[in-house]
């Protein structure tokens, strides 16, 4: 623990030894996985590299060119798609984009091309990586310049979602939200996108309860948010999902289109989308390397445990997962300030003293990860069509957020149980947050937890549970823990799940200049 938070979370009397040992367990757990990660690549990881090399667009059938190339490379992928690409670049003298077009339109076959001078090939690759990284860094600087020039809101940042399914309508809603006070806009993805093994192309208008994540959609929204940021004199952040079967690819697109945050969890896809554990854990590594460089804040998905599990009973699993996510993130070069660990307000509203347990949990997360921009998710599970009570659940949620000093507050909507948000729902949600957070602004500094009281005690109990769980996971290893259903109560065989066939052992001499570049400069967050 690098610091001690002020205010209410500072009142928790946690055993630093226990916290240290939990982190140590997480390190050992992650080390084992990273050993696997370093020896494998995936189709999506390679497509991400191709994206970074500048390959965009689709073929005549609408298949994205990165997919075309990776499909063509097929069983030779273990050498790294970059190898085949830059070999072709060297041989044909074309640039990566032209090579890809040639594959699509002219039947160019990367594998069958003669092998160019390996030194030359690698040099071309490294040069492309430098260009890509310069581009990403320049987009990052753009963000920093925006923030320097326009400023940003104090935390908790107010985070709302748009989910019309139509990017142009999303823009309308996002700008309205920003004008009403939103600091962060997330464009929710269409139902089912996480299972697509490609990133759709172009502006899209036909999503279901969300809008497809595409590079063009990212660009359109960023442009709209830049405009409204200028109008408001305050930088408005944009979020999407580096998650699902295209995790690293989307991270790359998000880096290139200056997204500010990425939903990105080491285990979410495994647990909640039945994705291959192998695939997901390899993918998360590159995606986080990219986000580290892009200056993204990642948002982990521990809130999701509580939509099926009970928030009171399973509270420790959230903390255990956060330690693991943190360690994965650190090992991928993310700075603590970029690791937006997630949790959620999901106590049964009928639970007597539920608010106390929720305060304990929120303060605990804050105390354990003082430098992390913690993301607090709203009540959803116990929301019903009773929009009036729903508004109150969000009121107490906002209170806990400001009381315990959360960083990113994803606002609850009164109509959570009914539909993805209407424009007016967002107004009510923002009004709710502003009202509560302004009225109770300094409450967390003016009240303290009763020493030896039940809130302190609860936090200690949850931490002990998490530490115990991490010890168990360490003993058996994460692969085995996933198989035994230790997270979210679902059993995920290490060699099961969707997308396993996209996992490929790296061959000796595996070439990925982008990853190499990212690994060269660690922890630049």
């Amino acid at each position: 623990m690098t610091g001690r938070p002020g205010g209410l979370p500072g009142c928790l009397e946690l055993d630093p030894g226990l916290v240290r040992s939990a982190r140590e367990d997480a390190r050992v757990i992650v080390d084992e996985i990273m050993d696997y990660v370093r020896h494998h690549t995936t189709t999506s990881m390679e497509r991400a590299a191709l994206r970074l090399a500048g390959i965009n667009g689709v073929d005549g059938e609408g298949t994205p060119l990165p997919n075309r190339l990776v499909d063509q490379i097929g069983s030779e992928l273990g050498h790294g798609a970059s190898y085949w690409l830059f070999n072709a670049v060297a041989v044909t003298g074309r640039d990566p984009g032209e090579v890809a077009r040639a594959v699509a339109d002219e039947g160019l076959d990367l594998i069958r091309l003669p092998g160019a001078d390996p030194v030359k090939v690698r040099e071309l690759g490294r040069a492309a990586a430098r260009r890509a990284m310069d581009h990403i860094s320049s987009r990052r600087r753009e963000r920093e310049d925006f923030v320097d020039r326009l400023g940003e809101s104090p935390q908790p940042w107010l985070y709302v979602i748009v989910a019309t399914g139509n990017i142009h309508e999303d823009v309308v809603q996002a700008q309205s939200a920003a004008r009403m006070g939103a600091d962060v806009i997330a464009v929710i993805r269409s139902t089912g996108q996480s299972l697509l093994d490609y990133v759709p192309h172009g502006a899209t208008t036909e999503g279901y309860a969300g809008t497809y994540a595409t590079r063009e959609n990212f660009r359109i929204m960023r442009e709209a948010l830049d405009a409204v940021s200028e109008e408001l004199g305050r930088y408005v952040r944009q979020v999407n999902y580096a998650s699902g079967l295209c995790m690293p690819e989307i991270a790359a697109l998000g880096a290139m289109e200056r997204l500010d945050m990425m939903l990105n969890d080491a285990m979410y896809g495994i647990l909640f989308r039945d994705l291959s554990p192998r695939r997901t854990l390899v993918d998360q590594y590159l995606s986080r390397r990219i986000s580290a460089r892009a200056g993204h804040i990642i948002n982990t998905g521990e809130d999701n445990y509580l939509t099926t599990d009970d928030a009171y009973e399973a509270a420790h699993t959230v903390i255990a997962s956060q330690f693991i996510n943190e360690e994965f993130a650190l090992q991928a070069g993310l700075a603590r300030e970029q690791i937006g660990l997630g949790h959620a307000f999901q106590m049964d509203p009928d639970l007597t003293d539920g608010l106390l347990w929720e305060i304990a949990q929120a303060a605990l997360v804050r105390a354990l990860f003082p430098l992390s921009p913690i993301k607090f998710m709203p009540p959803t599970k116990y929301k019903t069509g009773n929009i009036f009570r729903s508004h109150l659940q969000d009121c107490l949620f906002n209170l806990v957020g400001v009381l315990t000093g959360q960083s990113i507050q994803l606002l609850g909507m009164p109509t959570e149980a009914i539909h993805t948000p209407f424009v007016a729902d967002r107004y009510l949600a923002l009004e709710n947050a502003r009202y509560v957070m302004n009225n109770a602004r300094d409450l967390g500094r003016e009240v303290v937890l009763r020493p030896g009281g039940r809130i302190q005690e609860r936090a200690v109990r949850v931490l002990e549970g998490a530490a115990g769980m991490l010890g168990e996971v360490r003993a058996i290893g994460l692969w085995e823990a996933l198989e035994q259903g230790m997270f979210a109560g679902v059993r995920r065989p290490r060699d099961g799940g969707k997308g396993l066939d996209g996992v490929v052992p790296r061959e000796p001499g595996y070439f990925n200049p982008f990853l190499a570049h990212l690994e060269g400069v660690e922890g630049d967050g």
């Binding site: 989910a163 019309t164 139509n166 309508e169 809603q173 019903t384 069509g385 009773n386 929009i387 009036f388 109509t415 149980a417 009914i418 539909h419 993805t420 948000p421 209407f422 424009v423 007016a424």
Partner: protein
Amino acid sequence: MMVEDIRPYGDHPDDGAVQVAFTLPLKAGPQAAEAARELMRQMGIEDAQVVHSRDLGGDFTFFVGYGRCRHRVNPGALEVPRVDLEVMDFRAVNQFVRERLGRKVLLVGACTGTDAHTVGLDAILNMKGFAGHYGLERYPEFRVINLGSQVPNEVLVARAVEEGADAVLVSQVVTMRDVHLGNLTRLAELLEAEGVRDRVVLVCGGPRITHDLAVELGYDAGFGPGTTPSLVASYIVGELDRRRVAGRLGEAR
């Protein structure tokens, strides 16, 4: 349907999204829920969904519903009743009075009948004013007599006559069972009966007062929520000037 016709908007143009809530005098159950949906349909709501219902203990059930309203309105074609004038600020009003009327203006105000809600009237009349605008007492060219709360109409009329008021300002906040309608009407009638109705600018205000309602009740103007003192001042002096010019008032006194 004309292009200007609009429908409510939820998350895409023309989706007609509306929320409703009401209580039906029925015990909760499928029958009551269907009655709720049927009522929504009669209101012109398609895809009527009951998203919440709650038995209120007794033969009542509360419903929250969502759906798509099929009605449309053309806002351009609506007549919007309001006091139409250019609002002058504190300085401009006083200058206007000095230049155009050439004498102080006397205002008499009251919360009439049984109404004791003085905050709204005070917001207009008292020194400190409302929403950053000075109250009318502060205007050097106005003399203000604020009779306060629960003033019988007779007392208000007598005082207005006695003082030779230029304008009478009435506040009515309690509106249950339309108590304000009778009360406001009686005041206008009393002034008429005393033969002074034409000699005063008669205005009323309150959270449920609209300009067209006021006119309907025989008032010169009505002011609703959010009214500022300067708006009322601008209206009164403008109206006095209009009447002066029209020769109905002013010279005679």
